[in-house]
């Protein structure tokens, strides 16, 4: 029963810590503009990187914001890691294998959950199944096998590349090796535990046990896998591996946020509010409070 509660808690804390982190970034104060073109929501101008500043008296004209173009660009980055593909292809193969593997494993987890819920509600999900269940089981098999293999190959090759390539090695901290190693070991233990009873129904049964708050029936390797998986879930949102949170803010709230402060706009009100804020901390250089020169010596 401990493992059941532990694994559910790990997932809940993963989601809670990730949400907390997102909330922390979301409530950070308004920052100075850091537009970086091309900005997808400029729509028709995206191709060459243009903006509304190309228009005469732009503030008198309605703004055309293309949310569709923004979503397409965002999906290209999320699903294909386009910037890495465009700018560093050799690393992209490794990173993409890794991330695609993770996406497959996320899909696998969702399918396991759906099938387990169905099974708990009396639908026959074990064995080959038929109709929609058969389709879901095929998808489950593909997602599981592809996910484990791609993520394993990706994490291993990223780890090796990082250790072998001096230009990456000299910037990599032991913790960053640990991050990749942790994922690699979790995948290895998962594959090993699965290989002891190589059936697609085996992980489904474990998911049913977890969702119905029953004790998990696992081999020794399975227990080790679940313990390590739980540690990984606790740890990811606390580490830089939570870049799935940061990436949203760095693109949408920093590089692509080019909303102008026009009279009466929501941005204008935010600017006014920020201007009225009195910080608790202040800078110490002598010129901060006046126009005077610093005491720095000059030639």
């Amino acid at each position: 029963m401990f493992l059941t509660l532990y694994s559910l808690l790990a997932i809940i804390l993963f989601l809670a810590f990730s949400a907390y982190k997102a909330a922390e970034y979301a409530k950070m104060p308004m920052h100075g503009r850091l537009d970086l073109y091309p900005i997808p929501k400029e729509g028709g101008r995206l191709e060459y990187g243009g903006s509304y500043y190309e228009e005469l008296e732009w503030w008198r004209k309605p703004r055309h914001v293309s949310h569709g173009a923004e979503i397409i660009d965002m999906l290209k980055e999320m699903l294909f890691i386009k910037k890495l593909f465009d700018n560093q292809r050799p690393l992209w193969w490794l990173s993409y294998a890794f991330h695609l593997g993770i996406y497959c494993l996320m899909g696998w987890t969702v399918l396991l959950t759906v099938l387990a819920v169905a099974g708990l509600n009396g639908v026959a999900v074990m064995g080959a199944g038929a109709g929609i269940i058969l389709v879901l089981k095929i998808l489950l098999g593909i997602a599981g096998v592809a996910g484990f293999l791609l993520a394993l190959i990706g994490s291993a090759t990223l780890l090796i590349r990082r250790m072998a390539d001096g230009s990456l090695r000299r910037y990599t901290t032991p913790q960053e090796y640990f991050n990749l190693l942790l994922i690699f070991v979790v995948l290895c233990t998962g594959i090993y535990a699965w290989s002891l009873a190589p059936s697609f129904d085996r992980p489904l049964r474990v998911m049913e046990q977890a969702l119905s708050l029953q004790p998990l029936v696992l081999s020794g390797a399975g227990v080790l896998h679940v313990v390590l998986l739980g540690i990984m879930f606790f740890y990811i949102p606390l580490s830089k591996m939570s870049h799935y949170v940061g990436k949203y803010f760095s693109f949408h709230k920093v590089l692509w946020d080019n909303s102008p402060n026009t009279p009466g706009s929501a941005i204008g009100k935010e600017v006014e509010k920020a201007a009225g804020y009195r910080p608790h901390t202040s800078w110490s250089a002598p010129h901060i409070k006046g126009n005077g020169a610093t005491p720095g010596k000059t030639n």
């Binding site: 190309e54 980055e77 990456l168 640990f178 204008g268 910080p279 720095g296």
Partner: protein
Amino acid sequence: MENVNDLKPSDLGRPDGQLTKLDKLMDLPAPYDKPGMEPDFKEIKPAWQEKYCTTLDGFVGVDTLQRPKTKEEEDEFVRKFLSGLEKIFTDANNSSLQPLSLTFEYCAKCNTCSEACHIYEASGHNELYRPIFRSEVLRKIYKKYFTKSGKLLGGFVGADIDVNWETIARLGELAYRCNLCRRCAQTCPLGLDNSIMAREIRKIFSQEMGIAPTPLHNKGSVLQLKTGSSTGINKAAFLDNIEFMEEDIEERTGLKIKVPVDKKGADILLIHNAGEFVSWPENPAAFAILFERAGLNWTLSSSLIGYDSVNYGIWYDDTQAKKIVQEQQKAAQELGVTRIVIGECGHAHKAAALVGDRIVYGEDKVPVESFLPLLWDAVQKGAFKFDPSRNDFPVTLHDPCNVVRGMGIVEPQRNILKIIAPKFREMTPHGVYNYCCGGGSGFAIMNSLNFPDFRNKVSSRMKFKQILDAFADTAADPTILKYVCAPCSNCKGAIRDIFEHYEATTKFNIHYGGLVDLMVNALADLPRPFLTFDE
């Protein structure tokens, strides 16, 4: 000295001498591909080594960063830096907190950004200039002093750097080996921006420690706030300049133009980089000719800072930037204009239009516009009659980073050039993916000690290569005049210095200038060419 390829961020804390020396720079194309075509670096003077921090790469960018005389001074220097480092993550730094935190926390260290950096490329891939190098040093110091993980786990989380005067001083210098052009950020798969880290280091030095390069601070923003202009031009001198400009226009073109100054109720307040009046007076003159021809209701301002669009604060000090933005807005509000138009100055575009956009608010806020859409509109309306054959020489366009990458103004300048310059050709790459001129973020005006060597041979090297490539068909032929159109004062300053350093004008007839100058040169009814290409 460390092999350039073995250098790592923690080496910044090494107590011994100079960390790296530039010896294998990126090759230049013809006609600069032969030995002896390029002057060597100047040797560092022993007196500089005693007084300044020359132990990074042998260059001195921060002339106010001087070696301590006592242990107490050294300790105080380190203490102040750490105090400032702590503050960048507090509400004293609200305007940068989110972007800084993101870049600080999430860098995957994939080095995708490296090859986007013109300085890293030009240096022959010297490790010191990788965009993440200085960021990683800052992370290490912060973790060591301000995070629980750093204090408990030390080297495991990267908190493995010795912090002493040399470390901090080298980091201060290293912050001035980045043009803040943000080209690296365009390639980051996580949307992070290493230029933010470079600028934050500059801010710690200025806002907490009172240390900034003299040309940027004491002779830059401080002088501007005191006299009205970083050039030192006060109101009386400005008015003299305008009078001189009117005479010059008449002499060059026969046109009698009364340049409007402090015209209440004008539609447009045009603000130039005041450096134009000093170094390139033909540029504001060309603006006056074009604005009058276009029938615009415009004015210049003679009030404090109303006649100088520069804002060096955006490169190193938020507080200075804010004061200047507010003064410029005040000048516009006093005149009752409906818009501020920024002339040919890239960083002034960013300062007034973007930085100011998060500082000034309310009904009195005067909208800011670039001169580019305004002139393109006038061209489209047929305000000017051009004879493109007057510009019948190869022309290429340098894109100022702040105008293209920072504001997305890409097409108007090209549309105009396609009309007035029949031999216009693009650089590669161009537009939002352009390379910086090498003078960005203050480098163009930082002429202390041996820093111009770094600018001319390293930070501007990629731009010089691009220019030579753009003129590959005629670059070596001194009988053919070539023109680099650089619609930005700082960029022009950097390009001027490149051409002097490499003798590109005297040897190969390559010139530079603004866009408006070229437009006026193409005006069909002027009795003689507006531009003169003296060597």
